[in-house]
């Protein structure tokens, strides 16, 4: 897997979404595009609730959830960092994939990717006869800045 983390533009995402909807015989509604735009406007990660807050009364909560599922199926978003509390999403990179480090002190998310790790994961799957669809890796810990603060105390 390639570790370049370039996600596509809103415009291209919208184009891909329209295409997906058309192919599936689904309808391209204003609400669906609103959700897509909000998802792209949100820098990095976001939850369904955050997106709903951004959209105000434009789109109902139920529709936000339904559209997020739709965008995942369209291959435009992926679910990441499923915590105990809520599901987070982020735009799929056109090329590339990355994993996450979560700072337990400040909540910051650091993205990283290592092709060697990806290759080893693929190797493990082959070894077990497992066909991978998706994976997620999250490392919880303390980031450089928060370590600095701890030391200062």
């Amino acid at each position: 897997m390639n570790c370049n983390n370039l996600s596509i533009s809103v415009a291209e995402a919208a184009r891909v979404f329209r295409e997906y909807l058309h192919e599936e015989g689904l309808r391209c509604t204003e609400q669906r595009l609103d959700v897509l735009r909000a998802a792209w406007a949100a820098a990095g990660h976001f939850s369904a609730g955050e997106l709903h807050a951004m959209l105000g009364a434009e789109v109902s909560r139920a529709t936000v959830y339904r559209t997020l599922d739709c965008l995942v199926r369209a291959g435009l978003l992926r679910e990441v960092l499923q915590g105990r509390e809520r599901t987070y999403y982020e735009p799929c990179a056109r090329r590339g994939h990355h994993d996450h480090m979560l700072c337990v002190a400040c909540g910051k998310v650091i993205e990283f990717c290592d092709e060697r790790i990806e290759r080893l994961q693929d190797a493990m799957c082959r070894e077990k006869g497992f066909r991978p669809i998706d994976h997620r890796m999250g490392i919880r810990g303390v980031c450089r800045e928060c370590r600095g603060k701890e030391d200062a105390q």
Copy 2:
């Protein structure tokens, strides 16, 4: 990290738990020990609900949840595979750590561990100045058996 996956015996787990409770000024109740025993009786992974079902009326649902938190704090259990739906737990290996593959077809969990991956993760953390506490890696996909069934169709 060592990939040996030997978890400690119930007896030793109970000893560690008692010690932890004592140190923290907490009380060693029959219910807490019941939960610990059930956790060790459950092969591999289990959810709070499954444990509560195993225990029947011996321990209330609320106490199962409270005790699971307690066991995690004691370092005896860890949370794994936090899916959208519920939290799973498993006994901490005394030495050793492993990751998971989840078959989306049959729900089976395959454990694996690769020291090279662990080392690379540690290297990524050092590179980012990140102090790791814990990590989880899950690969979703289709297991060998389910792939066989798919092919047979």
